[in-house]
Symmetry: C2
Subunit: 334 residues, 2 copies
């Protein structure tokens, strides 16, 4: 086999077949994928959640993960955010001619490992190759299917005044870590992306209480964009307390240095949970005992005031509007 | 709104929101998409088919369609090939900064129209933007979900000796048409891609008979690659009769001129159907009365001989092996 990806690997011919067998089947190995049809098939019954995400992050390998791990986590977390148990994933690769096959295998291997951790099967896929400079190394699409348990109705439309806003850990780790890698700033080398599959933690929370109104993972645009979306969708205000928002010292330091705001930085292993007051203690107790939620904090509440807006009570004691970002501090963060 | 796509359109912020509202929601409009969560949700019960495909075709607009129409047809046809009724699609866009928004809208509009023709809903999506020269105009991933009726078991593993091989129309139209566009050969300007959603035609066939062993759409690598895959999966031989394979005169002409083989050229609106002798008349009669199947032909049969191989009885009277292609005659054909 060649050492690098060539156009023939995306042809649908023998070379594609070899790549599928030697790389994808090796690491994604499961009974459904093995049927080798153009679509996977399996039994399913109930309320289904279905989501898709394309990943174009640069650099492809970063401290704490790579584009493959990120692709699995992103889709698993989007399903978990609706309260669904993620079950089946598809993956579509668009690869730039010339990518070393050992880099592809490292990416695919970590997809296989992360899928295993999350308890999901990668059941169908597709590989396209484009010529040099027609893509940037590798783009991955993952779509996913999960089942939402009976009686669960979690949606960005469901926040209610009086609800509390929880974040499951420190804010801005992913965005800040990618920024450092990209700019080759060798300060804080112990900072890494928080990229993680959150479905098992969310499942443990939901085993204790179904009384959750909204969950959403604050990726692109960070906590600020996500809470603004929810405020608009649910037609409520959201009030944050700056002194309660967990931010790592390194992230705070980098943001101060570069004039950025951790609230707008992407996270890939955090969930925002909005729930009524009487289920908050239960939720916090499960989160605090989980590896990915040990630093969970209640950072704000849903209000009847300033509908459609997020307002933050600042360290200085005043209130400021946390706007929806127009563009992004950092493109290609996921 | 800007006239071209900028990095901000992929940021997850306000500019992304405007694009979603003004372009995607406008043309994909349906109740499930409108919930605006990170995942769509809907009820489903039974045997589910799930597939994914990324589309990287160049040129993006071609005679008979564009990348958007192709993306809907490709995924709908992969589901139909398992005998599934396609229901829900996701779409993930990766767009190169600088794409004119009116080109994006033309693509999205034809996705909306094709989805309507096929009777499927686009229920969830994702948009990423990469900087100039990090992608080639636009790539689209579509994943899809369908339901396979009870008792149906159609798979590339199911071909049986004695089965007949049907192709639902002329071979090589898509590949040949793209080749002409790409090379700016202005001969045969009436030749166009066969790009079409085949699910309704397949549904009509299945309403008359469930007695079908294999269906697969011969896209990349054409009829040759697809039949080779099936021969290997089903551990059977496949015998073709060259004089029965329908090829348009223009396609034959271009292939002769350029030394290419229509059997290896991509199709985007054709299905290969392998079925037992006693259901062939029924299948052919439905196909012949359908707009997308009027030129259906029985082109060969499944044999006990030469297992894993496709052999063609040629016009000259001899037999030749139709090999699995190694690479592709034409990259980025879909």
């Amino acid at each position: 086999m060649s050492d690098i990806i060539t156009l023939a690997h995306g042809s649908g011919g023998k070379t594609t077949g070899d790549l599928i067998k030697n790389i994808f089947v090796k690491h994604f190995n499961n009974d459904i994928l093995m049927k080798n049809d153009d679509a996977a098939s399996f039994m399913l019954s109930g309320k289904v959640a279905f989501t898709t995400d394309s990943f174009v992050i640069t650099p492809v390998f970063f401290n704490g993960g790579n584009i493959g791990k990120l692709a699995i986590c992103g889709t698993v977390n989007d399903l978990a955010a609706l309260g669904a148990t993620p079950l089946f994933l598809s993956c579509g690769f668009i690869i730039e001619e010339g990518l070393p096959i050992k880099e592809l295998e490292a990416i695919v291997e970590s997809m296989g490992n992360t899928a295993k951790e999350a308890g999901v099967k990668i059941v169908t896929g597709d590989t396209k190759v484009v010529q040099k400079n027609a893509a940037d190394k590798i783009f991955i699409n993952t779509s996913g299917i999960g089942i939402i348990p009976d009686g669960i109705d979690i949606s960005g439309n469901n926040a209610k005044p009086g609800d509390k806003v929880i974040v499951t850990g420190t804010v801005g780790d992913h965005g800040c870590s990618i920024l450092l890698e990209r700019e080759r700033l060798d300060i804080f080398t112990d900072l890494s992306s928080d990229c993680a599959p959150l479905n098992k933690m969310v499942g443990e929370v939901m085993a204790k209480t179904g009384n959750i109104h909204v969950m959403r993972d604050p990726t692109r645009g960070g906590v600020a964009a996500t809470l603004n979306e929810i405020a608009v969708q649910s037609k409520v205000g959201i009030k944050l307390y700056e002194n309660r928002i967990p931010v790592k010292d390194q992230v705070r330091g980098v943001c101060e240095l570069l004039g950025m705001d951790p609230l707008y930085m992407a996270n890939e292993g955090k969930m925002l949970i909005i729930a009524p007051d009487d289920s908050v203690d239960t939720i916090m107790s499960v989160l605090r005992n989980s590896a990915y939620g040990a630093q969970a904090c209640i950072i704000g509440e849903v209000t009847d005031d300033h509908k459609g807006r997020v307002v933050m009570n600042t360290l200085a004691g005043g209130n400021r509007i946390v706007d929806m970002p127009v563009g992004d501090q950092l493109p290609r963060i996921c």
